[in-house]
């Protein structure tokens, strides 16, 4: 394992990735109940639960549920309900767009828990992992000089002692 962590550039990056990988791996491997109970909330509610619809709900049902939630929690009608209103709005935006809904469903099924939520908004990609992949590719291909760009980069690096 030490050779993987030896690269200075990606150090903090890989370490961060490893940690979040571990967290994710832990979630998939039945975390003991005690550990779960220690977490402040049992489990973040899914967007479907937020709106009170089934996961297989039709778009009209979702729209009606959103309208209900919006009327209920709109800051004009319910002072202090702004946060729930915004969450309902976000849930509606994701669930009403078929592509984002599909992405969100996949995320749910793959067990993306509260930990990964920070890095990713519903339906979007994990760009941190993609950037890590870019670093790997750059490191692996850097020396070969097969492309014009790599030759020029090499020449520039040589020219500057």
């Amino acid at each position: 394992m030490s050779s993987v962590c030896a690269r200075p550039v990606g150090m903090g990056y890989m370490a961060g990735g490893a940690r979040s990988q571990q967290r994710r791996r832990a979630a998939r491997v039945r975390v003991p109940a005690a550990a779960v109970a220690m977490a402040p909330t049992a489990r973040a509610e899914t967007m479907y639960e937020l709106l009170g619809v089934e996961e297989t709900a039709e778009p009209e049902v979702i729209k009606a549920a959103y309208r209900r939630a919006a009327r209920r929690w709109h800051p004009d009608a319910c002072p202090g309900g702004a946060e729930r209103f915004m969450r309902a709005r976000e849930a509606y935006e994701v669930l009403s767009d078929p592509e984002r809904r599909r992405g969100y469903d996949i995320q749910l099924r793959c067990g993306a828990g509260g930990g990964a939520q920070a890095a990713r908004r519903a339906g979007f990609a994990d760009w941190e992992a993609q950037l890590a992949g870019l670093q790997w590719r750059a490191a692996a291909h850097g020396r070969h000089g097969e492309t014009w760009g790599s030759r020029m980069r090499h020449a520039t690096a040589q020219a500057q002692p």
Binding site: M1, S3, V4, R7, A18, Q21, A82, E83, M86, E99, R100, R102, G103, I106, Q107, C110, R121, G123, F124, A125, D126, W127, A129, Q130, L131, A132, G133, L134, Q135, W136, R137, A138, A139, A140, H141, G142, T147, W148, G149, S150, M152, R153, A155, T156, A159
Partner: protein, 709 residues
């Protein structure tokens, strides 16, 4: 409005956002005075518990204390993420209130506010190069690069250009106006940087519509091959076509490419596969990164069958999709890519919403893409009332009538349904209107293919955009003598859009083609007749040009259906003696006004409307030459157009050997800057006053020429 920059201590004393109980006390204060006036003074505030800012658009422009401190990108370098978000909100308010007073492109600029803030925070223009494709979304870029104080002059005479312009600022790396040129230009700058041994970064920002054009693929293909360091930001607002494309809003994506983009946005499963592959290589352990990269490549190869790695097949590293309105994410990604020594070409796919942050734009069907002056509170535009419609609408009307009479008539346009009027045609004949996307070259050859099978295609492409498909016009249409009809809108000077959209050259480049019939109407009734004429010409290609603007109120033919004109025959409008004005196109109107002005000086000129540049009405020209001393040709086109054809004809037939004085008036041999149409015509020297002055000078009365008003 007194803008007082707050002293740093006041600003730092504002409580942080993390403390929810402070949210009522949080206020954006320009100064103590401003905070006390106007109720509790809140025009812009951060929504409690979420990351988004709310801006109140009713009333005056809100105070923008943070934006006031930013004149150039270097002033943004030390801002934290919450401050950048606040800056973005202030920029939005600034853009809405500015465009409300000047008109221009609104929603595309609103969609890239966060992107512009992130780019300028991370990169250092003018050393780093940011190239905005098309450029109508560059308003936030202009505000952040030292032109905020002049934004109220945008798109006006002697003011800022509506698109990036190299002459205007060193921060504008490349001029734009037509679409899909940014990646090519960026690659050129990147390669030059490599050859010169420089270290700057090159970023191009291109939209999902512009990337459907062929040139974008040519550029991406070349970037992948050369492997030079380059960042391409794909700004995807899921419009693909302009939201003005049809009468009901944006067109459904016009091609297979957009399906690819959609799949990219949702193929989380596929990315998980690659990420899993990376985990596996780490667990193998003790291995070099070559193995990891190879595994990654195989994993990507596995998923390429599903079509989500179109960009990767071209050799670009794909990152995304990313929320394009999240400043924190954008800054993190740009910083990371900037710090890598050898990333090669990277494509960052961001998802934005056109018109984001301004509710009337988000709600409108056309998203308020291009607007005239409007009221910021409601978004209602102050469209000037005119008694006549635009030439575009008369054209659309006439084409619909032709299509009703003949079911072989079809319409083709290149992602400009609203601009060419074919959105009306599409509503009426949905199966006979073809939007090919931003692909003028394909549109022309596609029309040629339709014509070979006996259909009657009408290609409605702006005069300046048809330049992109010129080889197809020559090689595919004219050489084979195929009956494709070209309706060239926006011919001549176009006003606020400037020289990038100016249709100066179409008479020249069409009339030099051996088989083309070239005509131009002098008013909207003539336009309808020319649509009918073009529909009737079935043995050779034909074209007609008409300008931006409204009709003059001519009497329209019954039921708006024109009758075909006799080809190669012009008409005389007003009879006179000694002097003849031979106008081509809507310049005939200017000639008529000049004739009225000259009457007061006792000169009665003949005004003729040539109608056709090819074939020329030679009989009319011979008669005018025989009966007049002076012949002046007038057109709103460049050198080499109508005037040239007339002078060549006169020369060939020996009519220039006699007493005839010939003068040609056309657009000068330079680019006319953007501005009000009257100002542009004034600078070009094609107003009625100029025509009358030319006549008076030729008659030996120069003093009166100078005294004309």
């Amino acid at each position: 409005m007194a803008l007082q920059a707050s002293p740093p201590s006041v600003f730092r004393a504002v409580p942080t956002f993390a403390n929810a109980s402070c949210r009522r006390q949080f206020q954006v204060q320009a100064s103590a005075a401003a905070a006390n006036g106007g109720g509790d003074g809140k025009m812009m505030w951060k929504e409690p518990g979420s990351d988004s800012w709310k801006i109140d658009y009713s009333g005056e422009k809100p105070a923008t204390p943070l934006l006031d401190t930013v004149n150039y990108p270097k002033h943004m370098k030390n801002l934290s993420t919450p401050e950048l978000e606040q800056l973005a909100a202030e920029l939005r308010a600034e853009i809405v209130h500015t465009v409300a007073k000047t008109g221009g492109h609104l929603s595309s600029s609103l969609g890239v506010v966060e992107l512009a803030v992130a780019l300028h925070h991370v990169f250092d223009t003018p050393e780093d190069k940011i190239i905005w494709d098309v450029g109508h979304q560059a308003y936030p870029h202009k505000i952040l690069t030292g032109r905020r104080s002049r934004m109220h002059t945008i798109r006006q005479t002697s003011g800022l250009a509506g698109f990036p312009k190299r002459d205007e600022s060193a921060h504008d790396a490349f001029g734009a106006g037509h679409s899909s040129t940014s990646i090519s230009a960026a690659l050129g700058m990147a390669v030059a940087r490599d050859l010169l041994g420089n270290k700057n970064h090159v970023i191009s920002v291109i939209g999902d519509g512009a990337i459907t054009a062929g040139q974008a693929y040519e550029a991406m293909n070349n970037s992948g091959f050369l492997d030079s360091n380059l960042i391409i930001v794909l700004n995807d607002n899921k419009q693909v076509s302009l939201p003005t494309a049809t009468l009901d809003g944006p067109a459904k994506p016009v091609g297979a490419l957009s399906k690819t983009l959609t799949k990219l946005q949702s193929s989380t499963k596929l990315r998980r596969l690659r990420e899993a592959a990376k985990t596996i290589t780490k667990q193998i352990g003790g291995q070099t990164h070559e193995v990891a990269a190879k595994v990654d490549e195989y994993a990507r190869g596995m998923v390429s069958a599903s079509g989500s790695t179109l960009f990767e097949e071209l050799g670009l590293y794909y990152i995304g999709p990313v929320d394009g309105h999240n400043v924190e994410d954008l800054v993190a990604i740009f910083e990371k890519v900037k710090s890598m020594p050898a990333p090669g070409p990277v494509l960052i796919h961001i998802v934005t919403e056109k018109g984001k942050g301004y509710p009337p734009a988000e709600a409108a069907a056309d998203r308020m893409h291009g607007v005239v002056k409007f009221d910021p509170t409601t978004g209602k535009q102050f469209k000037p009332k005119s008694s006549t419609l635009s030439y575009t609408q008369y054209f659309a009307e006439a084409l619909i009538r032709e299509a009703e009479a003949d079911d072989k008539v079809v319409g083709i346009h290149a992602a400009m349904g609203g601009g060419t009027g074919l959105n009306y045609f599409q509503k009426r004949f949905p199966e006979r209107c073809f939007d090919v996307g931003i692909a003028e070259q394909h549109a022309v050859t596609f029309a040629a293919g339709l014509a070979t099978e006996g259909l009657k295609p009408f290609c409605a492409i702006y005069s300046s955009f048809l330049q992109r498909g010129y080889d197809q016009v020559v090689h595919d249409v004219d050489l084979q003598r195929l009956p494709v009809r070209f309706a060239m809108d926006r011919a001549g000077l176009v006003g606020a859009d400037g020289p990038t959209h100016c249709g100066a050259f179409d008479v020249t480049y069409m009339a030099c083609l051996p088989n083309m019939v070239v005509m131009a109407p002098s008013d909207e009734a003539e336009l309808m007749h020319m649509v009918a004429t073009a529909a009737a010409i079935d043995d050779r290609p034909s074209c007609f040009r008409f300008p931006r603007g409204n009709g003059i109120g001519a009497v329209l033919p019954p039921n708006h259906k024109g009758t075909p004109l006799e080809i190669g025959k012009g008409r005389v409008l007003v009879g006179g003696n000694r002097v003849a004005l031979l106008g081509y196109g809507t310049m005939v109107q200017a000639c008529m006004k000049a004739a009225v002005a000259l009457k007061e000086h006792g000169i009665f000129v003949t005004v003729a409307d040539a109608r056709f540049c090819k074939p020329l009405d030679t009989q009319l020209i011979r008669e005018l030459a025989a009966e007049h001393e002076i012949l002046v040709t007038v057109e709103e086109g460049s050198i080499g157009g109508f005037g040239s054809h007339v002078s060549h004809y006169l020369g060939l037939t020996g009519l220039l050997d006699g007493p005839l004085k010939l003068r040609s008036m056309f657009l000068p041999d330079r680019y006319i800057d953007h501005g009000a149409p009257v100002d542009q015509l004034e600078e070009a020297g094609l107003t009625p006053r100029h025509i009358a002055a030319t006549v008076l000078s030729l008659l030996g009365r120069p003093l009166e020429a100078l005294q004309l008003s």
